[in-house]
Symmetry: C2
Subunit: 173 residues, 2 copies
DNA sequence: ATTTTAGGTTGCAAAATGAAATTTAGGATG
DNA sequence: CATCCTAAATTTCATTTTGCAACCTAAAAT
């Protein structure tokens, strides 16, 4: 495991975006609502029926998602009772995180073959696993990763020649 | 996006692994504990200090993570008061999901340059963005994705626009 | 004008959360 | 041995968050 210990005490100011992401998406229903949205659900009653979520919670979560800029709320012109919730760019970019979670659940849960499946529009083949990639796109696993402080980063093109004791992989120990 | 509406009502049996994943990781502190674990935190008091989390909640969450097989709990031989919490394979494989969330937070949060950063052990360059990839490794965005039911899947080889090259090395970000 | 529909609010009980004190078990010290 | 110390939990109790059910309101529909 990496030598460097990330100071994640948010008391003295946090320098990791994870808590930030969790503030927006860390609540129970947030990802479920997001999934429904990715599946083309746009209206309150639709969400409510699909998720069997309490109306007040749904209301509250939708508002929060809108506040966080993940969904956009638009009162529809043709029927002004209707409100349409739409994923923003910011919301759409949560897809990798959602798929990563889902794939993990699929792999480690009791053999749940999730349906439907996301396929590439070009070849209609299911997507591959969401992976971490090196700067050049090579997929790499946790064994090939280390934590580094920004200040210690090597400029591109100066790969390290030899490995010393600071190079313990993330998962070691 | 998707044409098909995923029936996510878990009342009549669910066929998506996302709720399953959320059951294990959907609570507020779960990802924060996971992050600390990835950073080399192994002991109760360490977690407690780093996260400033209430002790009872920490105790409860660690138990749950152990129950879910995400962390292993080992009473240490040399001092049997001490308990060591270690990420299992299952836990380690949550890294893509965690990084995806973190990167999302980094991109959309108020310009938080997260530190430390994960780097490739080989070239010490920071990792690229976590992306969704096609079956052949090509990274694809949400615009190129559709939902399909398993039954409708094309057998591999009958795809329209095949790209059978290995990983397209796309310079990330 | 009444009814229906979409999208919410309330009110209240149950559950989750968190801070602080207490407990349990194992080690260290005199 | 008797005492103190430490790591990890658990208990207690006040605060928050959740969830169900019922109610509200504006805009269509009839």
């Amino acid at each position: 495991m990496g030598k460097l210990r990330e100071p994640l005490n948010m008391l003295y100011g946090d320098n990791c975006a994870l808590p930030l992401a969790l503030e927006a998406m860390g609540e129970r229903w947030s990802f479920m609502i997001l999934r429904a949205a990715f599946n083309g659900v746009h209206h309150f009653e639709e969400f409510q029926q699909e998720l069997s979520i309490a109306r007040n919670i749904l209301s509250n979560r939708l508002s929060k998602l809108v506040d966080h800029g993940i969904m956009a709320r638009e009162v529809m012109a043709e029927d002004r009772r209707k409100v349409r919730y739409e994923l923003t760019e910011k919301g759409l970019e949560l897809l990798p995180a959602m798929i990563a979670l889902r794939q993990w659940g699929e792999k480690w849960g009791a053999g749940v073959p999730s349906t439907p499946v996301l396929v590439d529009v070009l070849d209609e083949q299911p997507i591959g696993p969401v992976t971490i990639t090196a700067h050049d796109g090579r997929p790499i696993g946790y064994k090939e990763l280390v934590w580094k402080h920004r200040s210690e980063l090597q400029p591109l093109g100066q790969a390290r020649a030899r490995t010393d004791e600071r190079m313990a992989p993330v998962a070691a120990e």
